[in-house]
Every structure is written in structure tokens, then in C-alpha cells.
């Protein structure tokens, strides 16, 4: 069990890292893009807009923590 937890912790740290909100935000942005792309509305701008919000947000959280 201990090794399994360590294994999961390693992959969480490797993929999600120290700010889970970034991974969550990216997943939401891609899901919204997927949904909008199925309509007649253009959807290419959604992920860049999410990056424009997520990056300063994550930076601000890191600065505040430090």
C-alpha cells in the first residue's frame, strides 16, 4: 500500500505539479473547446484565452505563497 501511494504521489507530482488549478483550468478549457467546436461557433480562441488567464493566475499564486 505504501509503495502504491508513493507511486501515485510520484505521478501526481510529475503531471499535476505544485498548482492543481492549472491542470484543472486546462481540462476545463479543452472540454469547452470540444463542446463549442461541435456548434457553428469558432472555438480556436478558447484555449489561448484560458492560457492568458491561467498563467498570470498561477504566477500570482506562486508570488503570494513566496
Amino acid at each position: 500500500m505504501k509503495h502504491f501511494k508513493s507511486f501515485l504521489a510520484f505521478w501526481y507530482d510529475f503531471i499535476i505539479g505544485d498548482d492543481w488549478t492549472v491542470a484543472f483550468g486546462v481540462a476545463v478549457a479543452l472540454a469547452v473547446t470540444y463542446a463549442v467546436a461541435r456548434t457553428n461557433v469558432s472555438a480556436w480562441w478558447i484555449v489561448p484565452s484560458a492560457v492568458a488567464v491561467l498563467f498570470p493566475w498561477s504566477l500570482w499564486r506562486a508570488v503570494r505563497k513566496s
Binding site: G17, V22, V26, A31, V51, A62
Partner: protein, 261 residues
């Protein structure tokens, strides 16, 4: 993405990780036992080769659109974390990666540890230190090679770029027999972070079913736009001269996501 851009992106990312792995191996070899450290390197490279050999063909079998969605998401998460740390370092809010200090710390820890041999490995500590350094740093290299390579249907070119980066870094490390402290590591990390975010945005969006205006040419706008955004944010978060913020005292110990340490 042309072959040159693929090569450059993989080469830079792999060079960054190779610098860190070389520092660890140099410490293990210098303080303990070179033979055991090099066996550790060989074992680590073997594990990585197996990972690439198994996952490489599996990734190329996935439909391109699904692959781009999955890889785009991961690259975006990785890229945002790489760039955040590079910006924090560039602005002085996080200590620059100091290979000299890391080398001294590893050296001291290695010298203080007990010596024990197992089989052909005369010094288990040197072996383990090298092995872990190569595998942990190399896993990120393998990930970048596989994701960039499989998306461009050219895993072999990505692998060549990775090997070239490792060979160059190791050759310099062997010649100077010292940690590669003068490599502009943060600049390289900034460039890699920009590349990961740009390609992650491009592939993730396409994988989700949207279409870029101008198709591949959109990357010519995305890459400079992300770079400019990163530079602007570095300037914005830079502490003012009259505040008490000191770059050297702000080092975070947290490590994440294929993120640079």
C-alpha cells in the same frame, strides 16, 4: 512544425535535463566510485530506452486527433509550470538553479553515506544516486521525445535531437569535470516553456475539434505571443528595488510536473 523546430524544441528541453543529470552523476562519481556511478547511468539509460521502445509505437497507433488532445493537455500543464518557474527566476522571486551549490550538496551527502557493494556494483550508493538522477531527469526527456515526435510522425528525429543534447552536455561535463554552472539554464527553460505552451495550445485545440485560422501558420503567431506574454509578466512580477524581496531567499522547494528543479 518543420523538422528544424522539432529538433530545436527537443534539443533544448533535453539539454536542460541533461545538465541536471550530469551534475548528479559527477557528484556520485567524484565522491564515491566512478565505475558504480557509470553502471547506474547505463542501467538508467536502459530503463528509459525500454520506456521509449514500449510507449513509442503505442502512441503512434492512437488516432492523431485523440493523441493531439491528450498530448496538448499535458504539454500545456507542463509548459505553464516550466514557464512560471522560469519567470519567477527571471524576476528574482525564486533563486536561480545553482549547479555549483547542488554539486557541493550532493558531494557532501555522497561522502557522508555508508559504502556497501552488491554484485558487480562496488558502491551501491553511487549506483543508486546515478540511476535515480538519470531516470528521473530522463523521464521528462522521454516524454518530450515521444509527444513531440509522435505528433510530427518523426519520433526518430526527436530521439536524435535528445541524444545530441545529451552527448553535447556530457562531453562538456567530461571535459570540465565540473558542474555546468555557466549554462544559461533559465533562458533555456524559458524558451522550452514557451514552446510547450505554444504547441500544447495548438495541438490541444486541434485535438478538441477546433480549427486554427491559417492552419499551421498560427504557430508563427502563437510562439512569439507566448514569449512576449512571459517576458511582460516577468517584468510585472519583478519586485521593486525598495521592497525587501531578495531573490536568493525566495527559493521554493516544491517540485512538480516535468518541471525544472
Amino acid at each position: 512544425m518543420n523538422a528544424g523546430a522539432l529538433f530545436l524544441a527537443v534539443f533544448l528541453a533535453c539539454a536542460v535535463e541533461a545538465v541536471e543529470a550530469t551534475t548528479i552523476v559527477l557528484a556520485a562519481g567524484t565522491a564515491r566510485d566512478w565505475r558504480s556511478a557509470l553502471i547506474g547511468v547505463g542501467a538508467g539509460l536502459t530503463v528509459l530506452a525500454v520506456v521509449v521502445a514500449v510507449l513509442g509505437p503505442a502512441l503512434t497507433a492512437i488516432p492523431l486527433r485523440d493523441l493531439r488532445l491528450f498530448v496538448g493537455a499535458l504539454l500545456l500543464v507542463f509548459g505553464l509550470q516550466w514557464l512560471r518557474k522560469a519567470v519567477l527566476r527571471a524576476s528574482g522571486r525564486k533563486a536561480l538553479h545553482d549547479e555549483d551549490r547542488i554539486f557541493r550538496e550532493q558531494l557532501a551527502a555522497a561522502r557522508a553515506a555508508d559504502s556497501k557493494g552488491v554484485g558487480v556494483v562496488a558502491d551501491w550508493y553511487a549506483f543508486t544516486l546515478s540511476f535515480k538522477g538519470v531516470v528521473l531527469e530522463g523521464l521528462e526527456v522521454a516524454f518530450i521525445v515521444l509527444t513531440f515526435g509522435s505528433n510530427q510522425h518523426d519520433v526518430s528525429l526527436a530521439a536524435v535531437a535528445a541524444v545530441a543534447a545529451v552527448v553535447v552536455v556530457v562531453a562538456v561535463g567530461v571535459v570540465v569535470r565540473a558542474p555546468l554552472a555557466r549554462v544559461p539554464e533559465n533562458t533555456m527553460k524559458f524558451v522550452v516553456g514557451v514552446m510547450l505552451i505554444s504547441f500544447g495550445t495548438f495541438w490541444g485545440t486541434e485535438g478538441a475539434g477546433a480549427h486554427w485560422p491559417g492552419s499551421d501558420a498560427a504557430l508563427l503567431v502563437l510562439v512569439p505571443a507566448v514569449a512576449a506574454f512571459g517576458l511582460a509578466l516577468a517584468a510585472v512580477v519583478k519586485p521593486r528595488a525598495n521592497t525587501k524581496t531578495a531573490s536568493g531567499n525566495r527559493a521554493s522547494t516544491s517540485r512538480g510536473a516535468g518541471t525544472p528543479v
